[in-house]
């Protein structure tokens, strides 16, 4: 599972002889031992303070004010920005779209990732064949979102190759990314394509970690491969599957670049997500206060998922 660990054979351990330090030296050393970890962690703590604690405090304070960033003399306005956001039909549409986008993506990632991982784990094919397939399967994950966006804009163009196949098969040409009825599904499909490899890799690692004797015992008991799948594979993979799914919900909800570069939230807001809504409020309308309220709401929703994730990790 962790080849980085396995690759490296640690050199033989050298036994540490007992130290015979003078009392004063020991006191100093104890003090040094007490502060040393904080010294080692200080760059990290400073960075986290500057890049995380301060910004979150800033965005929360912006969200309760008026006229932030672009203008001076901001005034405390209480929950006015939140009321504005939560009653904005565009925000509610974004919330709904995000929900559809992340749940469909995650379920599809799970199914595809599991299916491909199972096929790649088959004992029926040679290792070289499987290694080649594995590289092909990882491909989508190696391209940055900007590249994925242009690939699919090319493929899904009204006169692109997907529509060519569709029309040759007797269908009619579809403007996938501009048709209000199709855009959200096209976008979700692109995201499924872009994200399944990470699931696949993790599930494959999980599969390889299942002890072989579990399957042997099952087949001695006469369990068919399908029964073995449901009674051995799935229960063994459960922790990996659940944590991957929660992580994916979090990551997908944060997706911005893909939406921004394919549909930009359009047509008619059908692909507007929480991320694009917030971005537009801030950097298109310069309504930084409203944007901050939306950003805080996004943060809170993510925290709910994150807390759920941490609970799951503790249960294991």
């Amino acid at each position: 599972m962790n080849s980085a660990k396995l690759d490296h054979a640690p050199p033989p351990a050298v036994a540490a002889p007992e130290t015979r330090a003078a009392p004063r030296g020991r006191a100093r050393r104890l003090w040094a031992r007490g502060t040393a970890p904080y010294a080692f962690l200080s760059p990290t703590m400073i960075l986290i303070f500057v890049l995380m604690i301060i910004p979150i405090a800033m965005v929360v304070s912006y969200s309760f004010k008026d006229n932030v960033i672009v203008q001076q003399n901001s005034v405390f306005v209480g929950f006015a920005n939140y009321t504005k956001v939560l009653t904005d039909p565009d925000f509610l549409a974004a919330l709904k779209n995000t929900f559809v986008f992340i749940t469909v993506s995650t379920v599809a990632h799970l199914i595809l990732g599991l299916g491909f991982a199972l096929m790649l784990n088959t004992p029926l094919l040679g290792n070289v064949t499987k290694a080649i397939f594995r590289i092909i399967y990882i491909l989508p994950w190696l391209f940055t979102v900007a590249v994925i966006a242009v690939i699919w804009r090319l493929m899904l163009d009204p006169s692109g190759v997907v529509n060519y196949l569709l029309t040759t098969l007797g269908g009619s040409s579809v403007d996938w990314l501009s048709d209000p009825g199709k855009a959200l599904w096209a976008l979700t499909f692109i995201n499924i394509w872009a994200g399944f490899p990470f699931f696949m890799i993790s599930i494959l690692a999980g599969l390889q970690g299942i002890p072989g004797d579990l399957y042997e015992a099952a087949s001695v008991d006469g369990a068919s491969p399908i029964r073995q799948f449901w009674n051995v594979t799935i229960p063994q993979l459960r922790p990996v599957l659940i944590s991957m799914a929660v992580l994916d919900l979090i990551w997908t909800s944060q997706q911005f670049a893909l939406i921004w570069m394919t549909t930009g939230g359009g047509p008619l807001n059908v692909t507007e997500m929480l991320s694009t809504y917030t971005y537009k409020q801030a950097f298109s309308s310069y309504e930084f206060a409203t944007a901050s309220a939306a950003a805080v709401i996004v943060l809170l929703l993510t925290m709910v998922l994150a807390v759920f994730y941490v609970r799951l990790q503790k249960e294991r």
Binding site: M1, N2, A4, K5, L6, D7, P10, A13, V14, A16, P17, T19, G34, P37, Y38, A39, L41, L47, M52, P55, I56, M58, Y62, I69, M119, L125, I136, Y137, I138, L139, P140, L142, F143, T144, A146, V147, W152, L154, M155, D157, V161, Y164, W193, P197, I201, S202, V240, L247, Q254, F256, A257, S275, T278, A282, F288, S292, A295, L305, A306, V310
Partner: protein, 285 residues
């Protein structure tokens, strides 16, 4: 003892299963790989033939799109910017993460659990929430439209993962290794850099590759924290190409491929280490 007929049916069933799995794998490979093949083939076409009917994999093979990108100073600038940012982020992240990982791996201290929890939770904070205060912060600090502004903000994504992966790596190395040097009078600092770091190269490679990838691919901060074209990175450059040249598809694809090459090479070189480090991180994180 099974009869020969039984052996034959079993063999046949095995062959059937083999064909079924192979077909399934091929269908999956088409799903994953064909868009990539299409991107590659488009980058070698003259722009007029990109949407030719019927579509052809290879029409008039030409390097024109690549020459156009590589002879354009503005495009090359995107690459230079991406290299400067991603390499700086990688070096700084490794340095800070090694220090932090040493602290986590070799010491017990009262705030250990809380600091660790904060580092893990940083990973979940949405970039869109951060980009608004970052914009205010970066403008205030005079870092708007500069390399340091991008480098610093990219580290918020790379650091937590790097610390978690590096700590896991140091934990696999026996404590006696660095303790023995310390007994001889060396400081923890020396023990870390002279003893632990040299034997941790595989772990550092995995962390470094991953860090480089995240920074090279980052889009939202690069979009909002830079303004002028000479400060843009490759992902933004690809987007700019979309508007500028009224859809020079072949050039967009060539740029996409050129922009993906560093990551592809790193991945192919360090595939095993990388996947190993990543999955262990993902499952533990």
């Amino acid at each position: 003892m099974p009869t020969s007929k039984k052996v034959l049916t079993r063999k046949r069933r095995r062959l059937g299963a083999k064909i079924a799995v192979f077909t399934g794998l091929c269908l999956g490979a088409a799903f994953a790989g064909l868009p990539v093949v299409w991107m590659l083939s488009t980058s070698f076409k003259p722009n007029g033939e990109v949407f030719a009917v019927p579509p052809k994999l290879i029409s008039h093979f030409s390097f024109d799109a690549y020459t156009a990108i590589l002879s354009d100073g503005a495009q090359l600038r995107f690459f230079l910017n991406s290299y400067i940012v991603a390499l700086s982020v990688t070096a700084l992240t490794l340095f800070v993460a090694i220090l932090a990982a040493y602290g986590f791996s070799r010491y017990e201290f009262p705030l250990k659990k809380s600091i660790n929890a904060v580092i893990i939770s940083v990973q979940a904070v949405p970039p869109i929430t951060l980009v608004i205060p970052y914009f205010g912060l970066v403008v205030t600090l005079g870092l708007y439209n500069t390399y340091p502004g991008l480098i610093l903000t990219h580290m918020v994504f790379t650091l937590p993962y790097a610390i978690i992966m590096m700590t896991a790596y140091f934990n696999t190395l026996p404590k006696e290794l660095d303790e023995s040097v310390k007994v001889d009078g060396a400081s923890s600092w020396t023990a870390l850099w002279r003893v632990l770091v040299p034997v941790s190269v595989p772990g550092m490679v995995a962390v470094g590759v991953y860090t480089f990838m995240i920074s090279w691919n980052e889009y939202l901060f690069a979009l909002t924290l830079t303004r002028t074209d000479d400060m843009r990175t490759v992902p933004i450059g690809i987007q700019l190409l979309m508007g500028q040249h009224s859809y020079e598809w072949n050039q967009m694809m060539a740029m996409s491929i050129l922009g993906s090459i560093p990551v592809l090479i790193l991945f192919l070189l360090f595939q095993r280490r990388f996947i190993g480090g990543l999955t262990s991180g993902a499952v533990k994180a």
